[in-house]
Symmetry: D2
């Protein structure tokens, strides 16, 4: 009998982008059975999506509340064990909280939610319920991002001095949200996206990746959020100066109006005796500056990578894995955690803490941009 | 009710590489249910593999013959519809032939088989049975390889003059086959690999990709097969001069002793008014030389790609897809062909013809290398 | 009879780096005869350097004042016509001023000088004397930097929205100035370098290139200057947020403690309908994002470049020219200006205005960093 | 008094490409005074060119014979010491021989000449006269080509197994020679270019670089020379299979009809424990595969390069030097050899031996292509 985790999904109906990604991610390593879902507010959307996915019609629910209620009543060996939440940002908190309180593990898209209050409440819920909670900051599950983290953690770079992280896209250079583009529409709508646009959508990815790879917290920021496209309600371009907890400094730029850029998440870290550079668009290459100053391309799945990245690949070196595989790494680690009933060690996936930090970053950036001054972000241990 | 194709697998047990790849490929787009298998000659291997995959124990068969026989007797709505063959080369012909004769569609790993007789027999079987037959030359299913083909077909490059294709690996630089490395062992063993080593394993990939992208047949070759590692029975390095059917010329180099090279399949095509270059290790980039001589990087899933590649991606531009996704493209097209009971148009996957041509290429190369002269390869229409 | 410009040099004796560069630059297109010099404060250094260069011993002067005085008295067809100043920053103003007042044209290394007062005084001197004055911000004379400027000027990118420019080096990661390294020593010494370190040495290059390529002035900056190496007197790392005169925004980072980085001057400009990227370490490639979003590599000396860059190369496409050739472009344009007795059009070389703006940038950055606020930089037309 | 070598030039008048390159090369390190010349068959061309170069009109000679005769009669401290020959191929042998016999050192463009007889005769002349003879295979003087040679010589790659060298251009894709293009005209004319086109013009560069970097001789070749452009008299595309003296094998492709390619000279060498790759279009990067299989970019003028390359650069790391600087390296080494009256050690420049080998390569390739069989090339020691 299969040991797959039975999972239900909230969101991800027709024309959704990230829902389909989550479904590939949960299939790729065969660790889940998707058996239930509420794929949108329109029951017809849920019905059609469920049919396409081969779901039992009775487990395609008109509301997420109905799904949680009904599934809770199913026999233990039939009911879902976990819920994947792939709705717009404003619809993360309520279903995540309800799911955990009903005894379901949760894997949720980023950013965690749309306010500090929601974030703190979810953190409290994770703590009180003891459920596994994963946040799909997928980039940190890319093998070479892991490799970068491992190398920095073991001191290859010496003391970190500079960090430059950027996430540049161009797809919102025009007012795409007025053209009926579903993704653009909710992301630029404060009601669904929350108080920030680009900063929440991609800036939090950059921020999480930065803290993940360096193993350090950002201590203080000076941010300037800006909207270039006339009439857009939320920021579409952000520049942030950073100070890390050890005194290192740097920049974080996230933008959705950099014409022609696709999905340019790139990080560079310089220490006193080495450096790394990683670009998610060419994810199998990690550029490592050694003590002698020369740059070596550390390639995924080769003999020179450490244990962390080696466990995250499925094929030999030279067989490029990418975005979907990294996403799958989070799902597979989540499945293991569900089976083990334990939060995993050594960051196999981002947790509620990453989510809370992302929301604090958003809050600090908003305040810094408004008040035109540096704002501190409490360190993780101060929060716990 | 799900429309997934019920499939069984022959080969791909523990420690196999390509079997796991095929299984991810068939899962990625959710178009199959893997419900039966004979994963190796050792029934215990099959049993364990089947358990890991959550298969019904009764459908884990001790021999492939048993699988074909037993599945044939199951009710039509339960029995497998297709068989995936992922065994070493010498074990392609017999199960493929038997499967088709029993009414199962076949998707088979490359090269097609180990002799011209086997190849011709399989071609005749495909014709007589009318079953769908797909060969997993996965690289041609990479979106940018498709894009290259589309651009050449519509004349962007003018008349093709030069082709350079190479597939360079380094993993057999040492006598790895003596270290207990399963993949190295069978690939260097004439009993299982057939009369060629590197040429069959990777040279046929290069050859198929070349004919696929250019839309032309190779007309004549001058080959030099060589074995660099002492005591190895088969070629580990090949150099081939090519003449295409239109008079274009070029080189095809396949090697497994190019130290450090991972999986370096790269093709360059030059015409009278343009050129293309594609490297499967960075599969999302197609380098296109336009009429003005400048090189543009045509990126996967962007606004400048044609319909052929656009239909082969799952995510927006900048979300790198790779080897497994391309493999999945073949499986998904195979599933559609099974449902439609028709060989698909416009090369969504390599067919028996690609397989036969690959075997003819091997035969010609062996003869050229032995007789030290150019050998013609019949054109496809002459064969049909 | 040769039409070469007779030139003398101040600075650039033994162990100097930039003096030798200037001498190659003036030789490369055969437009100068170097006939006089005061190569250092130590007359013996001057003597030896002069001998190595084949200079007449009588025209190797113990002081720059002596050189200006003596050369002024030579017959018009023998005396130098121009002076090249390659001393540390604190020794630019006095000899440049004296030279122009004595009727010599001046080509001077960057930054222009060490204070706003000096800069304004030099600007006034240029105006009052009418002499040709060139500043060797060499990077803007690289053909592809010119090409970038030409494309932006003709509107290829639409309205500029974002600029990212960085100049990252790693050579001062350690306290190299204590090891007897001549270049490190004066650059970290406020007496000779002026009030800033990295910002003056390389930040001004980045700033000048940015204004050159965009054809726009920086309007306002927020800067954070920092010193990472203990005991160093001047900044070795700078982060600057920018607002351009048209409302575009961006970042300028200059650092000399980015471990392993060599000479990483890179600029990216994004507009509403295109983008460009240029990296001086691979100077023959200009990455141009077109209206369709695809990136084309515009290569030096090919058929797709405009007139500005075409006139700055000496060899056909594919014959890489680099740093020294770009430097030579400035010298050759300076020679033409000397012959034409006119300031050249269309920026063939940076002038006193670029120098003044660089000093204003330094002043604004120092003030911003100290006062923790945005500081405006007057536009060029407001200054004139 | 200057220690510059007085030099005269034969060829290189108006509209010539390579003559101007030679003149920049001889100027760049200030090691020569160009004081005489016969720049073309048309005395008026010589006159104008000489004026532009500031030469004494009396030393601008109507014929090269006149130059050699007249200069021989000048006082020793005035007459030229060396002659640079930059004429088309058919005009190398006679002036080179006459120059050496008159006591002038010679630096000559490649290929050496147009027949084996001429080559042997020049070799005999070098031997009998004892003059310094340099051949401007400039690419081997590029620092990173030197670095590659040094690394291979010290055994970093183990035993060499595979070599792939290519020199691909596209400028002769059309019949440019009919458009009045001077360079195309003589290069496709058997009277001036000799018996081969692309093979002599660029194939010999590739061949020399290969033997230089590997430190080995090519032992045997199988060549196919081809002409793609209708009506062209000489080959414009070549494919050569190689066997090296140690049993390594490989390919050499030279082509001038690879649409869009600029000056694509690239070499890859694979050994039993390492590999290198170098592309002259990005000359400051040497890609080195180490024993661990990872590829490190060894950059020009950094701390990781050996003594050979370090002595060939003028600027610190990150200040790109290119084609002209490499050319200058040959001239500067030639000047030192002239002063030392000795052939230099450790290949600072290609000599008559490289020239003879190039001509033997051409002869063997012609014969192989005609007779459709492998042809041996005698090893250097067998020739001596």
């Amino acid at each position: 009998m299969s040991d797959r985790v039975r999972i239900g999904m909230i969101g991800g109906g027709q024309r959704a982008f990230i829902g389909a990604v989550h479904r590939i991610a949960l299939r790729i390593d065969d660790a889940f059975d998707l058996v239930a879902g509420c794929f949108g507010r329109d029951p017809n959307n849920t019905k059609i999506t469920g049919e396409e996915l081969g779901l039992d019609a009775e487990r395609c629910y008109p509301t997420w509340e109905a799904m949680i209620e009904a599934e809770s009543k199913l026999p233990e060996d039939q009911r879902i064990e976990a819920i994947s939440i792939v709705t717009p940002n404003h619809l993360h908190h309520a279903p995540a909280k309800a799911a955990m309180e009903a005894g379901f593990h949760v894997i949720c898209d980023k950013p965690l939610c749309i306010s500090q209050e929601e974030a703190d409440d979810l953190a409290a819920t994770v703590k009180s319920t003891g459920m596994v909670f994963a946040l799909t900051h997928n980039y940190c599950a890319s093998p070479m991002a892991r490799e970068a983290r491992e190398r920095i953690a073991r001191g290859d770079l010496g003391t970190i001095r500079k960090v430059y992280v950027e996430y540049l896209q161009g797809w919102l250079s025009d007012k795409l949200e007025e053209s009926g583009h579903k993704q653009a529409h909710w992301r630029t709508d404060p009601q669904r996206s929350g108080p920030v646009g680009a900063l929440g959508d991609i800036g939090t990815h950059a921020y999480q990746l930065l803290e993940f790879i360096t193993g350090m917290n950002v201590a203080s920021i000076y941010a300037r959020l800006h909207t270039f496209v006339d009439g857009r309600a939320l920021d579409d371009d952000d520049m942030v100066l950073l100070e890390m907890e050890n005194g290192a400094t740097g920049t974080l730029c996230s933008s959705q109006i950099c014409f022609g850029r696709e999905n340019g998440l790139r990080i560079r870290v310089f220490g006193t005796s080495g450096a790394i550079e990683w670009n998610q668009e060419h994810p199998n290459d990690l550029h490592v500056t050694g003590e002698d100053g020369a740059v070596t391309t550390v390639r995924c799945a080769t003999g020179v990578v450490g244990t962390a990245s080696a466990s995250l690949t499925r094929t030999p070196a030279g067989h490029p894995e990418g975005y979907l595989e990294a996403f799958g790494n989070i799902y597979s680690a989540f499945a293991r955690a569900v089976r083990d009933k334990a939060q995993p060690m050594d960051h196999p996936f981002p947790t509620i803490e990453d989510g809370v930090r992302g929301i604090r970053f958003i809050g600090a950036a908003l305040r810094s941009s408004k008040e035109d001054r540096w704002i501190d972000i409490p360190r993780q241990e101060e929060l716990a």
